[in-house]
Symmetry: D3
Subunit: 250 residues, 6 copies
């Protein structure tokens, strides 16, 4: 089974963390590759950046989709996920989606905890897009600045543990999703310090991608994720333009 | 009052129809300009194309936002609307948003009627994003192909009138939004053939843009549409990159 | 274009404020008249008073509806709005409706801020009737008494600014609707003191009434706002009774 | 225990049917009186008429509330119910409310079946006001005209039985509320012809009024149904005006 | 009229309190019997115990259902209510259901107040099962331990009154349901100390059971509460097994 | 990794099908055991039988929970799932839950398709309990009888394929969950005959159980799934009684 992890952020260090966390729990039989977006922003935090990152996801998938059994959109907020799911034939799962749906199996309501207040509006829209608001007990964020996106999880580990404990103490959440690609791998370290189950999104995403790949689902020919009809375009990458045009080379 | 109408589609003919419909009802004091996306697809119908069109909207606004009192994202589905609203200081309204909110004042529930089945999934997601599902009595589409996006409204006028009558006869909708930029101006012609009020989105959008401009709302400094903090980026248009970077030239 | 503003309160001073705020932003081509309810209460705050004010709205419209292109029910809470919309042929917009729908174009969720705690239950029911609860971040009120309904906006201006700032600081609201006819015109003065966009309901209402009038929507012949069948009645004003009876003189 | 049944319609024949149905099932110890609205329309079917009937309910209660342990607003749609509940000290239950809440104890979802299509919009708003939409499987109506409101239940009995059977066959409804004051007493006759439980609203209302009276609930001093503060008014009936003014004689 | 009150808890003292509270308000013509579960736990507080108690309810009903006109599942949380309603022919009402629906007639939103924090998750699921979340302003519980389930209402009376006052002061609740079978009869004592109406669930349940019995509803032959087809089983009580098997002796 | 699959039905043949379907897709490293309920009914279809099956699940888990890393409640409808999740320390996933959450990653809305109309009410309640109604496009069932629960998938394969095609043709569902333990393994055979992705619940469940086990989530010490306090009981199996009593042997 071959799985492609796409980091729509341009930070190579974040990609490394995502891959490391996934490798720690994936099946020995799984082959995992990862790609970092060549353009965009170092870490996506806004609706604007999510649009830009979403196009990157489509461009990367249009180059590589034929080589994999499943793909992961590896930024919380799942930029481009719906578009990827309609445009390509392989199953695609989002980092947020995987984290939230996995958390659903650990209790009635999950809270989302992350490291920067700027992420909240985009994360809330992500929860709404997935229609999981009835399962979500809120998005909780640290308030201060951080030094480096690559090392934010070490810098903020103890503050995040504290925030998780506050959220758990409120009694509203049965589980907590540690959100944001830069936090990949942190849950394993904080697990014993927090009184509700913690979900690591990279761990969840590799598990969900494996599950989807094993189901070998047929590409939808009906419903809202059927492949759109061929269409010409201008100004896109050649591979993406070809995929949209149903150019058989892609 | 100066208003900019942005067509995220690359079809100049559609831009002309949008502008004509808006000019027919706007205040004599209003100055209206329009821009057609230089890249992308001729008409946006999918999640994929909405992402691409959304980036076009941001690029166009980053060039022109300082010259206008309000802007219109002139494709039903409102590509890039949330991003535009957070990134720029002027009020921005979407074509779908304007049509739907105007329809809300004409009855309890509105139906959306359009010319192509391919539009339905994207339109439904648009209704959900605006959290207007409780007001929406469904998205109803014609099923066949069409010849030219520029002339689809003439080609399909009688079929659309028939569909509107079927929808009205169901009793579920108090008003009908004629959706899709290519249908701009059609409502005025079908109005007498349909037993519930018809909303022309271009007419609604210019009215809403004028209303917003007159309110002179302050740019949000709090809430989820405050301007994001400055951030570096790669691979974007110079103007958009500068706006994201808080480069003062923009 | 001729627009009628109906104040279902008996306070002439409030009518004057509403008219002044509307005139400040309306198109030069618009003709605006206003009527104050001859009977009822000085300012509507409860379900009981909303019923009474709603009948006043119907009585006033039955006298004047044929002379106007659109009408405004100029009390927040929109007494009689649904009834007016079904009974008469011209478009009718409510003060709350206009304020809330306009606020929807300025962000995801709006808060309602007003000057008296007694208004909260009725306002909440108004939000629910419009099915805008998913867009509303709460009704926030001052707690103390006030001296005069005509001058409450001067008396409470600084307290309202403070409350708006508290609401904005919570991060829950992207925009604030300054609610209540007696506050008409206040938003223009507080705009610079509050970090999210403020909506003045009188400004919004005149803009929405103009937009509706320009669309020239046909009276619904189907749906839930079609005109009810003729019916006899007793004890009503002659004009209202005649309108309900389909007496052709009305 | 003394209960007042208020018919906001002006049809005495309907009052007689309501009273007869209630007496057939009430406790022998209960004393039931009824009042018919002196003004308004013969049978309420619209938002407009509901406003007018709602004021009648308040006027009647302001005359008689001190003599009773509970009151029934005996028109489906519950005109004036919220206002009555805030303005007076005794428990008040609506005909629709009683029918729907009783039906909730007979299954997951209830359908509403009635005799005239004109009633549907108002009934739907009533369901929404009570926030029972998740329990309601729709409002189903006969489509034709009827001869006399007093005898409509005999005229339409077989058509209503047929409609109830269609609704039950759909599998969507676990119980059916026979709605509309003119149908009071009909459920007892149709019960054996319909495969899901039928709820007679007059039977339900007297049962609920008795239950409320036995609980002897204190008048709310807090919450949204606390009694509004005293206020002057003009143009209302003396008793209603006095109640609103906290005039101690009332 | 004969009504059976089933206590799915094994505490006889709680049964006595339930019966006493019901007798205080029921019609003189009503005959009330009660049964205490012979097996299970002294007081149900969890999902686990609710499953166990639910089976007890079915076993008890399978022995006695033919002798009664209606039955009450007398534990808040309504264990086994849905199953009982589908399996047996007589109307069955739950203690929580009766309390909540009765509270609905006393205001827009009710709060649930009870004596132990352990009850909250189960109570919340009960509110959701009844689809009354839009009417519920929260489940509020005392936090400490208690000495005896039979006497917890005396032990906690003043703390519960205080908690009710806090809840009422928040303005969110129009009425309060005093929840939990062990609190049966307490509302009558606290009524004057709390500024919103208090609902005693045992009082509400007997009233609702009487109302249902008077309606003589037919057993559903359609819808989701029709009696399931006959099925063999192993390991159940003989009477329950026979009822499930449509063994005519039951 | 050791996983326990619990069939709350008494049909050994169904257990064999579940196990076979799971083994076909599980990781080579996973050890899977299964247990069939010793008492109850051959196949659970109703609320009543779900209660009974739920207690079986708890009894089985109380015997075996210490030997496994995760458990599966292997009946669609997930009897006892919430109770199992609160009472035991290992992660537990339901067959319906796994099928529905997996389907969520294949599109916006999933339909549930099964072989017997009797299953619909219970399945609908299961969807509601998981708060996935916004993602569910309905429960669709065959209408006729079947010969043997063990072989129903062969008997009904072509009818189920036909029903799946009808559901897909409606355009409402992006994916279909083939529901019911007796259909385990059928999706692999029908996959090519249906134009939207099919989810096999047994395949999904083993995938989800593996994912949960790899996350090694801590048992909740807070939130609504914390372990309940110790409590005495009567009439339960010794192991279940001991687990509820916090008897250390369990």
């Amino acid at each position: 089974m071959r799985i492609l992890m796409i980091n729509p952020n341009t930070s190579e260090g974040v990609t490394a963390r995502l891959e490391q966390a996934a490798r720690a729990v994936m099946s020995p039989q799984t082959v995992l590759d990862s790609v970092t977006a060549p353009a965009g922003v170092p870490y996506i935090t806004t609706r604007t950046e999510s649009l830009i990152g979403g196009v990157s996801v489509l461009e990367i998938l249009s180059e590589h989709h034929q080589e994999y059994d499943a793909a992961i959109v590896a930024a919380f907020g799942d930029p481009g996920l719906g578009a990827a799911r309609e445009l390509f034939d392989l199953p695609v799962v989002g980092l947020a989606e995987a984290g939230m749906l996995t958390a659903c199996m650990l209790g009635g309501r999950f809270a989302i905890v992350t490291f920067a207040a700027a992420l909240e509006p985009w994360y809330r829209e992500c929860v709404a897009w997935h229609r999981l608001e009835a399962r979500c007990a809120g998005v909780h964020t640290l308030s201060g600045a951080f030094r480096s996106i690559n090392d934010v999880q070490e810098e903020k580990a103890s503050l995040l543990a504290e925030l998780c404990n506050q959220v758990a103490a409120s009694g509203e959440a049965d589980a907590i999703v540690l959100a944001g690609a830069p936090l990949a791998g942190l849950a394993a370290q904080l697990r014993d310090q927090v009184p509700v189950p913690l979900v690591d999104c990279a761990e969840a995403a590799i598990g969900q991608a494996e599950t989807l790949a094993r189901l070998r689902p047929a590409k939808a020919l009906a419903g809202s994720f059927r492949r759109p009809a061929a269409k010409p375009s201008t100004g896109l990458s050649p591979a993406l333009s070809a995929r949209i045009a149903h150019d058989t080379a892609q």
